[in-house]
Symmetry: C2
Subunit: 353 residues, 2 copies
């Protein structure tokens, strides 16, 4: 149980026989490409300072540095649910990239709650985060207004929201919806339907649009049908069972299930009704699941480029933070990928449609 003595910059200065200024210089110096410290300090002195700092176990007090400099070397990330695999994976990447770049990330979940979102933004502001990456939930306008009034550079991911000041890294969901539909059409199906939420999140609405467009293009306009279910799990489960029961009678051949959760409800309904895939219905699902890859046969699914979302949004945020992001650069559009018949763990087969 070591004594908790805090080693400050003054201690180091005293011990090394130099001023605090020098210590500060040395501690903040980056390595030049010549392997020398890039600062206006005598290399010999610098080395001594470094040694003393190490010996004493000095560690910079971030609060003090942040207070004085106004910078905090940290960014905030707000998603709707940090345990959602989709966001979890993005967060993992973000943390990794940021860490290597010397930044700390503060994560939180809005839980789709606009009130919590506001409080989160306030917390982030209080922590002097230099930038924000956010998946805005429904009703995020107040929170976002606050963000922009404070002037924190912000990048939106997953879902869009109006505002010229924001950067955005979004997946082309219209395209994803089209690809899903085209694949099924290409398989020879005509009666293809979709199940979506009543709640109109932009990403889902876009996938619906993509589906509709692809159906139209294929001359299947009359077969377009988008079932809307509740977001609430118990209700959703029941509704989807009824939809499938009815669809089986109507001779529907395939469904697009545009989120992982909806897909799970769907598979549950298949079980409950004793239906078989692909005998009764074929599917194109979204996101990732053990089921997609380990089912026999594997379930075609559309994968969002998670690590790319992380890369691009961090990159864009840094550009915005240093004030050199042109309006053009501020919107990044990514494509998702259709994954077919992947055996588990094998390199997945991608396809374009």
């Amino acid at each position: 149980m070591g004594v908790i003595k805090k080693v400050t910059i003054r201690d180091v200065a005293r011990e090394a026989g130099v001023s605090v200024t020098l210590v500060s210089f040395v501690m903040n110096a980056k390595m030049g490409k010549d392997g020398r410290l890039d600062c206006p300090v005598n290399p010999v002195t610098a080395e001594r300072v470094l040694q003393v700092a190490k010996r004493l176990g000095y560690r910079r007090n971030n609060a003090a540095a942040s207070l004085r400099s106004g910078r905090s070397n940290s960014i905030g990330v707000i998603v709707s649910d940090i345990a959602n695999p989709f966001f979890a994976e993005i967060c993992r990447h973000l943390e990794k990239i940021a860490f290597e770049d010397g930044y700390t990330v503060i994560f939180s979940s809005s839980e789709e709650n606009p009130q919590k979102l506001i409080r989160l933004v306030d917390t982030m502001v209080g922590y002097n985060v230099e930038g924000l990456i956010m998946a805005p939930c429904l009703g995020a306008e107040t929170a976002l207004a606050r963000v922009s009034s404070v002037g924190i550079p912000t990048v939106l991911i997953d879902r869009d929201f109006p505002g010229d000041e924001f950067g955005r890294v979004l997946v082309d969901n219209v395209d994803a919806g089209k690809v899903a539909a085209r694949y099924l059409i290409h398989q020879g199906f005509g009666k293809i339907e979709m199940i979506s939420y009543k709640m109109g999140v932009t990403s889902l609405v876009d996938r619906e649009d993509g589906y509709s467009k692809a159906m139209e293009e294929a001359g299947l306009k009359d077969d377009i049908k988008i079932h809307k279910i509740s977001y609430e799990a118990d209700a959703a489960k029941k509704e989807i069972i009824e939809i499938f029961r009815d669809a089986a009678k109507r001779g529907v051949e395939a469904f697009i299930l545009p989120t992982k959760k909806i897909a799970m409800y769907g598979f549950n309904a298949m079980n409950v009704l004793g239906l078989n895939m692909p005998k009764d219905f074929s599917f194109v699902c979204f996101d990732e699941s053990d089921l997609y890859v380990l089912n026999k046969p594997a379930v075609p699914h559309i994968l969002q480029p998670l690590s790319e979302i992380a890369d691009k949004s961090y990159e864009l945020l840094q550009k915005m933070m240093s004030g050199k992001a042109s309006d053009e650069e501020k919107t990044v559009a990514l494509k998702s990928k259709l994954v077919l018949g992947s055996r588990f763990g094998a390199e997945p087969t991608e396809a374009s449609f």
Copy 2:
């Protein structure tokens, strides 16, 4: 694009015609149970201050508060991989609990890398975190030594590590292994085997022990067999296929697959070999997967009490932070649960064995 003028406590004080001290009091006051601010300030004055603060858009500068008070209202959480569903779920709970308690959480992933762990600890120290919750990776001794030399209250989760100063919230993995085996024995199986990693992580070793003990107790000592596979995915996949192929010939009836990943390798092997569950083999798996609950029939699996781990570790950490955790309280042991035949989304059926 609002101008970024920072509103400080002084601005509020001036505008409200009071001293900074009063403003500080008001801003830090908690709500008493009578709905009044719990601080030595005239309610009328307090209300005025509150109004002014709101009007001006005042937000506390955490860096300053933290510097002065030494407290930071934040805790650090280090797991091996924040995207691993097991940890992701724990993190989600922790963030939620902490947020409601007025604490901010800083998450990071050690990526099983002791060097990164050290740097993470340093970062956390720099941020003045008041406490730490950590799933230590192999080789964590240096990092943990640093933690305890700084005297940050620390709670270990998932994996144990020596050190009286640490709190620990661990799952009884010996019990989990026993329960898995007993369940299969109770189903009437005798030839029950287990597949584990060569790499000896404590949690897995404990599960192996539990399995062995249960087999012994049931007089099946001669049937105990623990196959050790590589951690590396490609190798593991191949090895497990061979194990199953051979096991089918030897008349093995059931397997315990003590992690989700091993379970996935196992299901893949079943697919590859054209085997059927439960016709050819029965299983007890671990952790959570869509497959366990949506497979027909559902796969019995052992679930760790994730939200309980989060609850208990936060609770313990707070106790340690306020200096009132007795040595007894500093070790919390939790039991995992066997989940049977749960239909998707329904309340799972738990069982004791």
